[in-house]
Every structure is written in structure tokens, then in C-alpha cells.
């Protein structure tokens, strides 16, 4: 197979500097005295030209583009330039994969009564929309046959791999399906997680090979070569559909990488799994299948308290959420006190905030209050 590479279409197209060199004779004064020159930031709500440096999209004529509000109904703080200027381009290599997915329904518990209200949305990030590349997040939900357990899985395909959406889809679907089957006869704490992650890694690697072969890319190489084409985080939540007598719900969390699990209640957000460690400099490096770390992921067994909401999110949301105490935390907390309509939920997941242009996926679960 080909050498692994971070290169994306259009990224290294050489810019033509002739316009700039002929335009500017005296750089010290050019921008001050010529505010209408190219190179001056447009006012926030009017945009002349948003064509990317991507030959595939062409350099069309300057056209007016709708202001940020028309594309992202929710803005949190400074929306940045991209929210108003990016005109989403499709990824013509993968036309079957939508820009946005939305789901919403009520899951019944073992007694047949409503147990959990679910909202799920996957929204392609502004960067992928701009470059015309596919949404790489994925999510899956299953219920065990006995209706005692809800399994929710979120997977974040690593952007460096051009085919990572295949890894994400495979990990999410395989984990949710297998666990829903297992939980029909096995308690969550009895599940052999290391074995499950080994199988997930195998399934991701296999599905990637099959997919790549279909695209004429042959992969008899190392697992790291495969991971350079397609890799994914995975986060699994197993939530009891029946409450304990005190109104709490048994909850098991396990995952690999920077996809995170949060609870929301009157005191705000708290992260229970997948939190990024605080470092001097930011990094988007993450652990990802099909590569398994030397130490297998460890499950966390906890309780979802009465009145608490559970949210599973990719870092497209986790990063701007930070520690949950900022503007994004307040925005989402205010809107997710109770389940919004599914379409509203997706629009909220698609909030605009400067520089946060990664794919976003959220599964949010609102347990029904038991009398």
C-alpha cells in the first residue's frame, strides 16, 4: 500500500504570490491606506470570496454568502470567520454518507414503560465541509434483548486517515451489536473487555482492508500502515433501563481515545470518561483502533444520579466544552435540561464557535423520572 501521509487534497497547492508581490510596493502602509485591498478581513457579516485553495472546487467568481446565522442557527461567543464563509462541499468519493444525521426516540425499559429519552446527532465539521471531505464520526445505539440495558457507542474517525469513517462505523456498530447480544445473558461487570477490544480492533482492521480493496488500495502491510488510512476512537456506555430503588441507574463506561462521557445536572457538567489531560500545548493526538495500547482500556462503573443527563460526545464538542464551566458548557446545559426536538438538537450540536471546526457527534440520554 502507499506510504501513510497526512496530505489532503489541495493542502499543498502552491500559492501564487505574483498578485501579492505586484500589489504591495510599500508594505508598511499598504493595508492602512488601502482598506479595500484584497487581504483585508471582510466585516463579519459580509463575505466576498470563500473559495478554498482546492483545484477540485474551482475558483469561482466572488459571490455573496449567507451570514453565519443562516448556516449555524446557534452561535456561542465569537463564531469566527469560517461559520459565515464556508460553503459546505460534498465528498464525491463517498456520496452515500450524509453531512448530518439526526435521531430521537423513547426507549422502553423491561417493564415496557418509557425509560430513556434519546437524542443523537452527527454533524460534519466546518473543516471537512470546507475541504469537501467526509464526516468521520459515527454512533450506534442498541438495546439488549431483555430490555434491561441500553448500549450507546460514539466513535471518532481520526482525520489523518482519509478512510477513517469506515473504522468509526465499524467500531460503533460492532461494539453496540455485540454488547447488546452479550448483555442478554451476561452482567456488564462480567464482560471480558480486553477480549472485546481485541475483537473490535480485528473488525476495524478487517473492514478497513475490505473497504480499501474496493478502492483499489492493497494493504498487506503493517497495522500502523492500515491505521494511517483509517483509525477511530470508541466510547461505550451501558446504561440500565431500570432504575435502582433510589432512582439511580447503573452505568458502565469504557473506551479508547479522546471521546468523552459527561453528566449534566443542576450543578453543571462533569466528565466521567475520556477527559483530556491538561498539557502546556494542545494536541489532537489520540489513541485509536485498530491499534491497541499496551494496557487494555479499563471500564468505569458508576451511577447515573436521579435527574442527571448522560452525554457521549466526540472531541468536536468535548474540546470547546473544556471543563464544562465556560460559554459552551452554559449554552448546552441551558438547552439540554430537557430533551429538545431532534432537529433542534442537531442544530445545537452544530453551534458556531471560532476555530472549533471538527466533526461533532453527541448521544444524549434523559432518563425518565420514576415515581
Amino acid at each position: 500500500m502507499g506510504r501513510p501521509t497526512l496530505r489532503r487534497r489541495g493542502f499543498f497547492r502552491r500559492p501564487d504570490l505574483d498578485g501579492a508581490t505586484s500589489m504591495v510596493e510599500s508594505p508598511a502602509t499598504s493595508r492602512e491606506t488601502n482598506p479595500a485591498e484584497p487581504g483585508v478581513a471582510p466585516p463579519p457579516d459580509t463575505v466576498a470570496l470563500a473559495a478554498p485553495l482546492d483545484a477540485a472546487r474551482g475558483d469561482g467568481p466572488a459571490r455573496a454568502v449567507a451570514p453565519a446565522a443562516a448556516r449555524a442557527p446557534y452561535v456561542v461567543g465569537d463564531p469566527g470567520r469560517a461559520a459565515g464563509q464556508v460553503r459546505p462541499a460534498p465528498d464525491l468519493r463517498f456520496p452515500e454518507r450524509p453531512d448530518t444525521t439526526v435521531d430521537g426516540y423513547t426507549v422502553a425499559g423491561p417493564d415496557g414503560r418509557p425509560s430513556v429519552e434519546l437524542r443523537a446527532a452527527g454533524v460534519r465539521g466546518l473543516a471537512h465541509r470546507y475541504y469537501g471531505t467526509v464526516r468521520q464520526d459515527s454512533a450506534a445505539v442498541r438495546v439488549s434483548v431483555d430490555q434491561r440495558w441500553l448500549v450507546a457507542v460514539v466513535a471518532d474517525g481520526v482525520s489523518a486517515g482519509e478512510h477513517s469513517h469506515v473504522a468509526a462505523d465499524t467500531a460503533a456498530t460492532a461494539a453496540a451489536t455485540e454488547l447488546a447480544g452479550l448483555l442478554g445473558g451476561t452482567a456488564p461487570e462480567a464482560i471480558d473487555w480486553p477480549a472485546l477490544f481485541l475483537r473490535l480492533a480485528d473488525q476495524v482492521a478487517h473492514a478497513t482492508r475490505v473497504h480499501l480493496a474496493g478502492h483499489g488500495i492493497h494493504t498487506d502491510g503493517e497495522l500502523t500502515d492500515l491505521a494511517a488510512q483509517a483509525a477511530t476512537t470508541v466510547l461505550i456506555a451501558v446504561l440500565a433501563l431500570a432504575s435502582d430503588p433510589d432512582g439511580t441507574r447503573e452505568l458502565h463506561l469504557i473506551g479508547l481515545g479522546d471521546t468523552s462521557a459527561w453528566t449534566l445536572d443542576d450543578s453543571g457538567w462533569s466528565c466521567h470518561y475520556g477527559a483530556k489531560t491538561h498539557q502546556l500545548y494542545a494536541s489532537s493526538a489520540t489513541a485509536a483502533l485498530p491499534i491497541l495500547p499496551p494496557e487494555p482500556p479499563r471500564p468505569a462503573r458508576t451511577q447515573l444520579g436521579r435527574g442527571q443527563v448522560l452525554a457521549l460526545v466526540t472531541d468536536g464538542i468535548g474540546d470547546p466544552l473544556g471543563d464544562g464551566t465556560g460559554e459552551v458548557g452554559a449554552f448546552l446545559a441551558a438547552r439540554w435540561q430537557a430533551p429538545p426536538t431532534p432537529l433542534e438538537f442537531a442544530a445545537q450540536v452544530d453551534f458556531a464557535r471560532r476555530s472549533y471546526d471538527d466533526d461533532r457527534t453527541a448521544i444524549v440520554l434523559w432518563p425518565e423520572e420514576t415515581p
Binding site: R14, A28, R31, A282, P320, G326, D357, D358
Partner: protein, 244 residues
């Protein structure tokens, strides 16, 4: 740790000794406007790039404090020649600037990626080697295990034109090894140095675009263009490459 945004800082550090006078400096004066023009066309990248410029001669001066290059109030500085070539002054000023800028951005609530430094010189340093070597070590040395050194150290990408000594510049590549080693870029033998500076500007812009683009996930900072995509008249060399 509330996140106001993710930023990728770039520093352009440029030699303005007298040997740069004339067409070379004229071309160098076009680098920032060209970067601004490119960023104005790419809202994804311009939302997260910060740019600063330091020039150096016998002393070093911050000519453009780290900023959003599309800030409408911004006035781009012009470069003028003065004096000799003190690498030590450049490295010392750079360390100060990075320490201040990163601390300020983090205090303002931004997540910051490791800065990238584009270091452009056309000649040998004129200050004593022991001095500039120790300034360079102060800028780049960091021992993760003991926490000794400068944790905010940048990635350094040297660019050599004209009379610059490739062997000297090669020792300024940082990091020289590891999972993401940097490279240096050299004008080809006999290449018109003014034309080479234009090519350097193209490499800077490609790198800014690719680095900003890679932040959307997986990547974590500076990305240099592959050899095959370099403009004519310039080539790249790794820290451990024997190029003569």
C-alpha cells in the same frame, strides 16, 4: 480551562543585516502581505493562525507582535537593513516573545499548539558562536523527565539563502529527531536569493495551510510540505542528512 479557541502560532524570524539590502529585503517585505492574502481566502485556517515577526541584526526587534493577521486594524511592518548578523540576539528575543505570548494566550483562555519558527538568514552569524549556541539551547532545550529547560520550546525550521552556511543552519533544526522531526530549506546553488525568498514565502504559506488543516484532528501542529511539492530553486534537508 474554558476553551475560547485553538490557536497555532507562527513566528517569522528574519535576518535584516546589511547583506540583505536591496532585492532580497524587498522580497522579504512581501512575505507577510502574501500570507495575509492567502489567509483571507481560507476562513478555516485564518480562524486559528496567529503570526508574529521578529527581525534581527546586531540586535533583534519584535516587528509584529503575535496577532491575528486578518485583524482589520493591523499595520504590517516594513523591514529595513541595519548592522551585522547576531543569531544570539534573535534566539534570545524569540524565547522572550514565546514565553510572553503563550502565557498571555493561555491566560486569555485559548488552547495553544506548539509554535513554529521560520528562521530566514542569508549569512553566517557575526556574533561569537559560544554565545548564540547557548541562546539557542535556552530556546530549544527541554528535558521532559526532569522538567529542566524551556517547556514552551518551538519547532524551528531554518531557511538558508545566498551566503548562509548550510552546516550552521542544519544545527538549528529543532526538533532534529523524534516522531516529528523538522527540516531546513536551502536555496539551490546559484539561485537568485531574491527569487529564493519568494519560494520561501510559498513554502511558509503551504505549511501554514497544511498545519492549520491538520489541526482538525490527528495532526497536532506544524506540517511541512513534501519535497515533491516544493517550488523550483529550493530543496529541503533533514537534520541528519549528509548533503554536501
Amino acid at each position: 480551562m474554558s476553551e475560547r479557541g485553538k490557536l497555532l502560532p507562527f513566528y517569522l524570524v528574519i535576518d535584516v543585516s546589511y547583506s540583505m539590502d536591496g532585492p532580497k529585503l524587498e522580497r522579504a517585505n512581501n512575505i507577510l502581505p502574501a500570507i495575509v492574502d492567502t489567509l483571507a481566502q481560507n476562513p478555516i485556517i485564518s480562524d486559528k493562525v496567529r503570526f508574529g515577526m521578529i527581525d534581527f541584526s546586531d540586535d533583534a526587534q519584535v516587528r509584529l507582535p503575535l496577532c491575528d493577521p486578518l485583524d482589520p486594524h493591523l499595520v504590517l511592518p516594513g523591514l529595513a537593513p541595519r548592522g551585522g548578523t547576531s543569531y544570539g540576539a534573535a534566539f534570545s528575543m524569540l524565547r522572550q516573545a514565546i514565553a510572553y505570548d503563550v502565557a498571555q494566550l493561555k491566560a486569555d483562555g485559548f488552547a495553544v499548539h506548539r509554535p513554529a519558527v521560520f528562521f530566514i538568514s542569508d549569512g553566517e552569524p557575526t556574533d561569537p558562536e559560544r554565545g548564540w549556541r547557548s541562546q539557542f539551547a535556552a530556546l530549544t532545550h527541554y528535558d521532559r523527565a526532569s522538567g529542566q529547560g524551556f517547556a514552551m520550546y518551538p519547532n524551528v525550521i531554518p531557511f538558508g539563502i545566498d551566503q548562509a552556511n548550510p552546516r550552521t543552519l542544519q544545527t538549528l533544526i529543532h526538533p532534529a529527531a523524534g516522531s516529528k522531526p523538522m527540516r531546513m530549506f536551502l536555496a539551490d546553488e546559484g539561485q537568485d536569493p531574491a527569487v529564493a525568498i519568494k519560494a520561501i514565502a510559498e513554502i511558509l504559506i503551504s505549511s501554514v495551510l497544511a498545519s492549520g488543516g491538520s489541526l482538525a484532528g490527528g495532526g497536532s501542529g506544524i506540517v511541512l510540505p513534501p519535497e515533491a511539492d516544493l517550488p523550483g530553486g529550493i530543496h529541503s534537508v533533514a537534520a541528519d542528512e549528509d548533503f554536501v
